[in-house]
């Protein structure tokens, strides 16, 4: 497991931190080593972000490189396009994914296409960060996870970290990538667990899934905030002598199906877990490809454990909507039924 190695390699600057700290560390690191990196968004400068992800950046790098924008998401993404074409590397923040829609036109029609439409003359190395997903008892529109919408668009990368160390390495990779990356931060696990983060500037590869736990009987495929649930489910299954492999997709677009397929070829069983609505979600693509390409290897139908095809209920009922480890275990056991 390559990422485990990267995460544990000995270096100088290791500190304990949560996912949010990792995001902050990566931003600090890259702004220090690369002058072209700038940060913009609502409340990112003076306030350090409503989740404190950008805290300290304004003091260190000044208002010139850390910019509080007027309240307009189309503006934020469109200005990032304009900056990116002029040699800057903007990292912009959309305060919650529920407010990302006005940013779509610039993201889809321009960021994703600038290199292609100019045959490489111009490019758009920008990162659009957004806290995403439910589970923190937030008001309406603060719990969306619509990664599938972005993943369908050619020319963008969509990345979702699921641990502090991966958040650090993937965000560095996203900033260094020469093309636009949407970096979705699962806020349900923003502060749930600490991990040593090695602030050594080492990026993790994009375009690759991470196998977090090896197993032989079933493959659990997920990303973001559902990863802890998947790992917990794997533990539970282990108690029933079922050996589950857990794969963190991490980069949803472009999708590394090789890792997923080679896992399912071995295990013959597959459960895909995500929090977004089921229909036309990212799980559909993975399920489709697994079934299309492991046709002779699959021992049972692929299972999807997902949110429902309805709006995330207001927070009193959000737990009814969110998949959890019991749901995953149940789906996994389903694949062992005759």
């Amino acid at each position: 497991m390559s990422q485990a190695i990267i995460e544990n390699s000995a270096t100088d600057d290791i500190s304990e931190g949560v996912l949010l700290d990792a995001v902050n560390l990566a931003l600090h690191y890259e702004m220090a080593v690369d002058e072209s990196v700038v940060v913009l968004g609502e409340d990112v400068a003076t306030n350090g972000g409503v989740f404190r992800a950008t805290v300290g950046l304004k003091d260190k790098f000044g208002f010139k490189r850390v910019m509080d924008t007027p309240l307009a998401e189309a503006l934020i993404s469109g200005m990032a396009v304009g900056m990116a074409t002029q040699g800057l590397k903007p990292v912009c923040e959309i305060q919650f994914m529920g407010f990302i829609f006005p940013a779509f036109e610039h993201l889809f029609c321009h960021a994703a296409r600038m290199r292609n439409r100019t045959r490489g003359r111009m490019s758009c190395p920008m990162v659009l960060r957004a806290p995403y997903g439910g589970g923190i008892h937030a008001p309406e529109h603060h719990s969306e996870s619509t990664e599938a919408l972005i993943a369908h668009i050619p020319g963008i990368r969509v990345v979702v970290p699921s641990s502090p160390a991966r958040a650090y390495g993937l965000l560095l990779a996203a900033i260094r990538d020469p093309d636009p990356v949407v970096f979705l931060e699962p806020k349900r696990i923003y502060r749930t667990s600490q991990q040593p983060i090695n602030n050594n500037g080492a990026a993790l590869p994009l375009d690759t899934c991470f196998t977090l736990r090896e197993g032989t009987d079933i493959s659990l495929i997920s990303w973001g905030a559902c990863i802890p649930d998947a790992l917990m489910a794997a533990e539970t299954l282990q108690q029933q002598n079922i050996s589950a492999e857990v794969i963190d997709v991490a980069t949803i677009k472009p999708l590394d199906m090789r890792t997923i397929l080679s896992s399912v070829v071995t295990t013959g069983r597959c459960v895909i877990i995500h929090e977004a609505a089921r229909s036309f979600g990212v799980g559909a693509e993975i399920s489709a490809q697994v079934s299309e390409k492991c046709f002779l290897n699959l021992l049972a139908p692929v299972q999807r454990v997902t949110g429902f095809d309805t709006h995330m209920p207001y927070f009193k009922n959000e737990n009814y909507y969110l998949p959890n480890s019991e749901d995953i275990v149940a789906a996994a056991l389903e694949t062992f039924k005759e």
């Binding site: 529109h141 603060h142 429902f308 959000e318």
Partner: protein, 366 residues
């Protein structure tokens, strides 16, 4: 501004003029003649609702702090604004709120306005099932409500109605495309629309001067060919006067009005915010000197309409009203899990039955 320079081909084209409304200044002095609508009764009603709004607000914050409510946006200091809106709305008007209009809802939302607001901020959709059938629910995505308001105003016009649409928005909201697109269509279609900007000086941490380079937000009306006016938003009379003028204008088919009300957000943005990170205690202290409730109280005192006994009674009755409503809120049972599907479509698509089965399985499991 360009100075006229005929050598360089310049010719004068147009001039624009902007005004400000204030009746009662921060020292509770009349700076204009008392308007006829501001009868003793009217002033007392405004005061009572402003106080009730504040009591409600403080209670809601307390509920959040004790884990009995979700994130809540206090309207502390902006009571004159939202109460004036509530006072001037006519029952058949369409009210399109943003999320900081508690005072308006108290006047608009019937007996259970407060418990419904608490349900909404407590994470229960049923909080938005109340109120006049044409009024919009609380709107979270910034500035989107103004486009709905423009659409509703167009609907009124199409139907030949004489009513108004009144929409509120924050200062931050005036930077988003929806604000301008809607103001623009209001101008070109001469819509019966009143846009009320609660310019409370902050959009979370972003101060007004970082939001817009113009001296006023009211002047945004000029680019849309719409009437714009700035008012003292801590003067309940000024806000009401501006709304009344806007109604007259709409009734005369002269179109929409943009009202910028100067207020100050005395509290945090929401209970999830800590405003001390981005603004000085001194600034807040100075803002307290202009706050609307004290100002109106002093005015009432000066008019011999108020005394400390009346104040005590009002505080007590307000607290009682709020507590009753909190009780209703806390006792309202949470909706069933299945209710998440109840209003997805009016006609449930049978092809979605699988979803119900999945939920039933989940409930059995968990």
């Amino acid at each position: 501004m360009t100075r006229l320079n005929e050598q360089a081909g310049h010719h004068a084209l147009l001039d624009f003029h902007l005004e400000y409304i204030q009746f009662v200044n921060e020292d509770s002095e009349w700076v204009a003649e008392r308007p006829s609508f501001a009868t003793d009764e009217w002033l007392l009603k405004a005061y009572e609702y402003m106080v009730l709004s504040r009591v409600f607000d403080q209670k809601a914050v307390a509920l959040q702090r004790t884990g009995q409510l979700g994130t809540f946006p206090s309207a502390l200091g902006q009571e004159a604004f939202s109460v004036a809106v509530g006072l001037e709305l006519q029952s058949a008007d369409v009210f399109v709120p943003y999320y900081r209009d508690h005072g308006t809802h108290l006047l608009r939302g019937g007996d259970n306005a407060m418990s419904n607001l608490l349900l909404y901020w407590g994470g229960d959709e049923s909080g938005s099932s109340y109120g006049p059938v044409q009024d919009f629910p609380v709107c979270v995505p910034i500035a989107t409500q103004i486009t709905h308001a423009a659409g509703a105003a167009a609907a009124l016009k199409i139907k030949g109605s004489d009513q108004l649409v009144m929409v509120t928005i924050g200062d931050g909201g005036t930077s988003k495309g929806d604000f301008f697109e809607s103001l623009n269509v209001a101008g070109v279609w001469q819509l019966p629309l009143v846009i009320l900007v609660n310019n409370n000086q902050y959009a979370i941490s972003v101060s007004r001067d970082k939001q817009c380079g113009a001296q006023t937000l009211a002047q945004k009306a000029i680019g849309a060919g719409v009437q714009g006016i700035q008012v003292d938003g801590n003067d309940v009379l000024a806000v009401s006067q501006a709304i009344n003028e806007a109604r007259t204008r709409a009734n005369e088919h002269k179109g929409a009005t943009l009202i910028e009300a100067i207020t100050y957000r005395l509290g945090d943005h929401t209970t999830a915010d800590d405003a001390s990170r981005y603004r000085s205690a001194q600034e807040v202290k100075e803002a307290w000197l202009k706050e609307p409730i004290k100002r109106l109280q002093t005015l009432l005192n000066n008019l011999n309409l108020w005394d400390s006994d009346k104040e005590k009674t009002l505080q007590a009755s307000s607290t009682n009203l709020v507590e009753e409503q909190v009780d209703i809120y806390l006792k309202t049972p949470t909706a069933s899990a299945q209710s998440m599907f109840d209003h997805l479509y009016r006609d449930w698509p049978d092809v979605m039955n699988e979803q119900l089965d999945m939920l039933a399985d989940k409930l059995e499991r968990n």
